[in-house]
Amino acid sequence: MTLLAAEGVTKRLPEGVTLVSDISMSVEGGEFVAITGPSGSGKSSLLYLLGLLDRPTSGRVLLQGEDTARLPPPALAALRLARLGFVFQFHFLLPEFSALDNVLIPIRRRGVLKPDAAQARAMSLLAALGLADAAQKLPEQLSGGMRQRVAIARALANDPLLLLADEPTGNLDTKNAAAVFDIFAQLAAEEGRAVLVVTHDADLAQRATRRIHLVDGRIVSDERDSSPTRGP
């Protein structure tokens, strides 16, 4: 099914600069989409619009068919909490909290799971990303690759339908970057989940099942792997 759809989405800054221009696209469950393009092509802006962090100047974004254009900010926040997960270039872990507590923040904010179950879920997420031993460590005690994996675990905390990543490997070496992309590929393979990654690294983009190329805020190419290994 269509998880996410953009219809004529345009983002213009008050100063008149157009970041994203009339983009229409849709993302299905199980897709691993890489958004590429040169600097200033609007790929990050598009990701923020699709991730409901920003509102388009015109056009609309539909999440599972629901129009988000008219939703008030708290409703958007609730959607982000329950259905979306973000990973940024910088890990943005809260420095005062252990890896485990960082992963627990979105789970606790949502408040669906009981404390024990929340703890167990966070631990299993960290374990799945190979961080079981680092759970009690503070971010400053972790390596860059580990921090980014903690950030991924946090993005997955509430089992989102859609994982959005903005240059997630920008601060990582090749080995760690490849590992992160492997994780994304694996996550996209899980039932119903879609992964959207903004990157300027063409090699890494090749690991995705679909590549959208942006230039000057417009989609110039949108290619899918001819024989997707998994998913619809």
């Binding site: 962090l53 926040a77 959607l79 982000r80 973000f86 940024f88 910088f90 809260l94 923040i105």
Partner: protein, 414 residues
């Protein structure tokens, strides 16, 4: 909410030293407020207690609040009459039909009444002259409205009755005249009456004005001395319940027409000073707390500035503007609470410290230390004030934090 609290605590703990400084600011404000309020309240309570203890609660005087109307005005109430240059009628001053009034007053439950006559006299002993005010009393009744007996250092009220013309004087007066118990002085009144009086008692209240220029004699004796037979010029009342003094005084005045003053009215000037004192205290400590509030504003602003990335990520994770606002408001309140708690402790220590101080001077009641009120309400007021001002100080940066746009921050950090 637990989560918000946890995050707030984490953020504050990162800026431990700054947080400590702003908490100390609040604490000092609270502590000073507590110490000063305790001092002032202690003194004021003591003073009021002293007044209630020493002075009669209600004094009925032989005057009226407004001059008595002239006969012409009474005869022609609506006429265009104006009487100027009236010479006071030479009437006998004093409370009229005092005996009947006394009976009525004594019938009031919880009230004791005593008639007195006060008047000036010149005391002469050897070559020394001192002008004093002689109060004529009936010991049995006077005892119920005043605590003169408590202050007697020699003799007693009863001895007024036993001597022919007994006189009790203050210690300072005794010193000035150079008289001792049993000596005889000559008292001369403005009406020219002169009596030989025997010193039968000496009192010491600690109030210089009283000790140096007051004397007590029997009512009858003073009536002779003042040449005002059977005249009473004041009736003193003492009540079991002092809070009734003012309404009762109004009632009595309305009924008798004589000017009647409660202890509150008699001490109004000092009670007004207390109000001003309190206003000064509140503004000084308010200023300290204001400075402390700026400290809190500063630390919360710094945290907001430093934590823009955390704010951005929390928002992208699905925290609402309200969540972010609460997050920083809570930090202000935590700082305020810590400050209030620490301030209460420091305040208590300051009170105990002040309580240790001893003065060398002899104050009215023979006190040599600060009079301190130890009232939990002072602590409560200070704490509530501190936490409220801390919360208000945190509102502005908290609102700013909640309005940060995560997109701009994420972009800037990338």
């Amino acid at each position: 909410m637990r989560l918000i609290l946890d995050i707030a605590r984490g953020m504050l703990s990162r800026r431990r030293r700054q947080t400590l400084v702003s908490v100390l600011g609040v604490a000092l404000g609270v502590a000073f407020f507590i110490a000063i309020a305790s001092l002032m309240r202690g003194f004021q309570t003591y003073f009021v207690q002293q007044v209630i203890d020493v002075q009669p609660h209600i004094v009925i005087k032989d005057e009226t609040r407004r001059p008595l109307p002239q006969a012409a005005e009474l005869a022609l109430p609506d006429g265009a009459v104006s009487v100027n240059g009236v010479k006071p009628r030479d009437r006998i001053r004093g409370i009229r039909s005092a005996g009947e009034k006394l009976a009525i007053l004594e019938a009031i439950p919880g009230a004791a009444a005593a008639p007195i006559l006060t008047g000036p006299a010149l005391l002469r002993y050897g070559s020394r002259d001192v002008t004093i005010t002689v109060t004529g009393i009936e010991p049995a009744r006077y005892r119920r409205v005043a605590n003169l007996e408590k202050d007697m250092i020699h003799g007693s009220l009863e001895e007024l009755r036993q001597a022919a013309n007994g006189l009790i004087i203050g210690s300072g007066l005794a010193l000035r005249l150079g008289v001792e118990m049993g000596d005889t002085v000559i008292a001369v009144s403005p009406r020219g009456v002169s009596l030989q009086m025997k010193i039968v008692g000496i009192f010491h209240t600690g109030l210089v004005s009283l000790d140096q220029s007051a004397g007590y004699a029997l009512l009858k004796v003073n009536q002779v001395l003042q040449d005002r037979p059977n005249v009473v010029n004041q009736i003193l009342l003492r009540l079991a319940d002092v809070t009734r003094a003012e309404p009762l005084a109004r009632e009595i005045e309305a009924r008798f027409g004589d000017r009647t003053e409660s202890w509150e009215e008699q001490n109004r000037n000092i009670l007004t000073v207390f109000v001003i004192q309190n206003a000064i205290m509140y503004s000084v400590t308010g200023a300290i707390l204001l400075v402390a509030a700026f400290g809190i504003y500063n630390i919360i602003s710094t945290v907001v500035f430093e934590k823009t990335r955390d704010i951005a990520i929390l928002k992208s994770l699905g925290f609402t503007e309200g969540d972010i606002q609460r997050l920083f408001l809570v930090q202000g309140i935590i700082a305020g609470l810590l400050g209030a708690l620490l301030g209460c402790i420091i305040g208590q220590v300051m009170i105990e410290g002040l309580a240790q101080i001893r003065f060398n001077t002899e104050t009215p009641a023979g006190n040599d230390r600060f009079l301190l009120a130890r009232d939990w309400r002072i602590f409560a007021v200070a704490s509530v004030f501190a936490v409220a001002s801390a919360a208000i100080a945190a509102v502005i940066p908290a609102r700013r934090a909640s309005r940060l746009d995560p997109v701009q921050i994420v972009r800037g950090a990338a």
